[in-house]
């Protein structure tokens, strides 16, 4: 394996030649999204359309085409995900307050008698969690969290009390601290970099998993609500 195959001294000409079309694609997509937003009066639609603007941002970052760019995509992605979640929650709470108690929320029984809903979720969820456990870090967290989320969403696990919720949130807070300790070890005691790496990777993994799993707990409220 020659060194140039491992790490070249400059960015490869393929990436350089693709930079212009990539940036144009991103700008076009963003423009379409922005124009649509500027014509949009419905708040929910605006929220959906911001997704496209986010796509433009991801392409802009990816177009740099280095390892650095890849590691910068992850924050962008996370910011996008995080904001969409917080804002959609605010939108719902606003509408709920606006309508007040006059409109009673009618809990609907959901009759989904699909074969796939009984067998698939457990299997897929287990696969995802196992796979996520291999990956660690952000990716692993997102994958495993997606598995948990999916499981919670499609299974009848009702009645998760607030305590459990706070417990999960607390666990992810501790995981965050683990990651922080790992980060500090890197610079205070560089000899133990391996320990720091493991702390960091698993801290972020646990944190992201639990956090994503929480979405499922929130989602359960809507999709699996039965007559109270």
């Amino acid at each position: 394996m020659s060194a140039s195959v491992l790490v070249p001294s400059v960015v490869s000409p393929v990436v350089v030649s693709l930079y212009l079309p990539a940036v144009f694609t991103a700008i076009l997509a963003a423009l379409i999204g922005l124009l649509a937003i500027s014509n949009q009066k419905n708040d929910l639609h605006t929220l959906i359309l911001t997704d496209i603007v986010g796509v433009g941002m991801l392409i802009l970052v990816a177009a740099v085409g280095t390892d650095l760019a890849e590691s910068l995509i992850l924050p962008g992605l996370v910011v996008e995900l995080a904001e969409i979640m917080a804002i959609s929650e605010i939108l719902m709470s606003r509408e709920m307050r606006k309508l007040g108690k006059t409109v009673e929320l009618i809990p609907l029984p959901l009759n989904m008698n699909m074969e796939i809903m009984d067998t698939a979720p457990t299997f897929i969820a287990i696969l995802l969690i196992a796979y996520g456990a291999f990956l660690t870090g952000f990716t692993g967290g997102a994958v495993a969290g997606g598995g948990i989320l999916f499981y919670v969403l499609s299974k009848m696990t009702r009645g998760v009390p607030t305590n459990t919720w706070e417990g999960i949130a607390g666990a992810s807070g501790i995981a965050w601290c683990l990651w922080l300790v790992g980060f500090l070890i890197f610079f205070i005691a560089p000899n133990y970099w391996l320990l720091a790496l493991f702390l960091g990777a698993f801290g972020v993994f646990i944190k992201v998993t639990f956090k994503v799993g929480l979405v499922g707990v929130m989602g359960r409220e809507e999709f699996k609500r039965e007559k109270e």
Partner: protein, 225 residues
């Protein structure tokens, strides 16, 4: 061109791998001021608004509930720390992340209130913050693509290209959107109608301080001479 032309005396750096925090008089002053405000917020109670009621002679008192108080104080402290970080970071992408953190926390501080109007402006502000993530990260990516580095301490020695100028304009728009600054303050001003002034202070503080800081960064990236 060096950093001391803009911010006064160069005091020192804190290296964290590729991300280097640096201090000039200017950065240090802003850092200290933001931290002072954060401490003040952490120890303060909230005020209660007293409003006259129609029809009677009674007053209505609007207070911040205990659960609301706790979460908002927590978010306000996080916001203060993030702002303090944004004051001293010497890395463009790190700065954008700090700004994104400030944006999401700001939304959170107002999302915890009950007034519909305030929630509405929180939502509109959130939408702007989401749209603004495009110019924010996109601008940083342009700067990276054209200069080959993200560290301000290196960029200061690189001659400006047109793409860097374009990237920094985008960066500025992104920061403006993410912190809700001119002329988008209208959404933000609406959010201040709710009680809880110490927490609202941090929203305003963060946006103004970040704007001051982004001007320094823009001047570092774009060297007119």
């Amino acid at each position: 061109m060096d950093l001391s032309t803009l911010g006064g005396q160069f005091i020192g750096i804190i290296p964290l791998g590729d991300i280097v925090l640096y201090f000039t008089t200017f950065n240090l002053f802003m850092f200290a001021a933001v931290l002072a405000f954060t401490v003040l917020i952490a120890i303060s109670r909230t005020e209660s608004q007293v409003e006259a009621q129609f029809g009677t002679l009674k007053d209505r008192e609007k207070k911040v509930g205990k659960a609301e108080f706790k979460i908002r104080r927590f978010l306000a402290i996080v916001c203060g720390l993030a702002t303090a970080g944004a004051m001293v970071t010497g890395d463009v992408f790190d700065f954008t992340l700090f700004v994104a953190l400030i944006g999401i926390v700001n939304i959170g501080i107002v999302a915890a209130v009950k007034e519909i109007d305030v929630l509405d402006s929180a939502f509109q502000y959130g939408i702007i913050a989401m749209i603004a993530s495009l110019p924010l990260f996109g601008g940083a990516a342009f700067i990276l693509a054209s200069s080959g580095t993200l560290s301000l301490l290196e960029i200061v020695n690189i001659p400006t290209t047109t793409l860097m100028l374009f990237g920094s304009i985008l960066l500025f728009l992104g920061v403006a959107g993410e912190t809700g600054v001119a002329p988008f303050f209208a959404t933000k001003a609406e959010m201040f109608r709710t009680p809880g002034s110490p927490f609202l202070l941090i929203i305003h503080l963060s946006s103004l301080m970040v704007i001051v800081r982004i001007i320094e960064i823009l001047l570092i990236i774009n060297k007119p001479f």
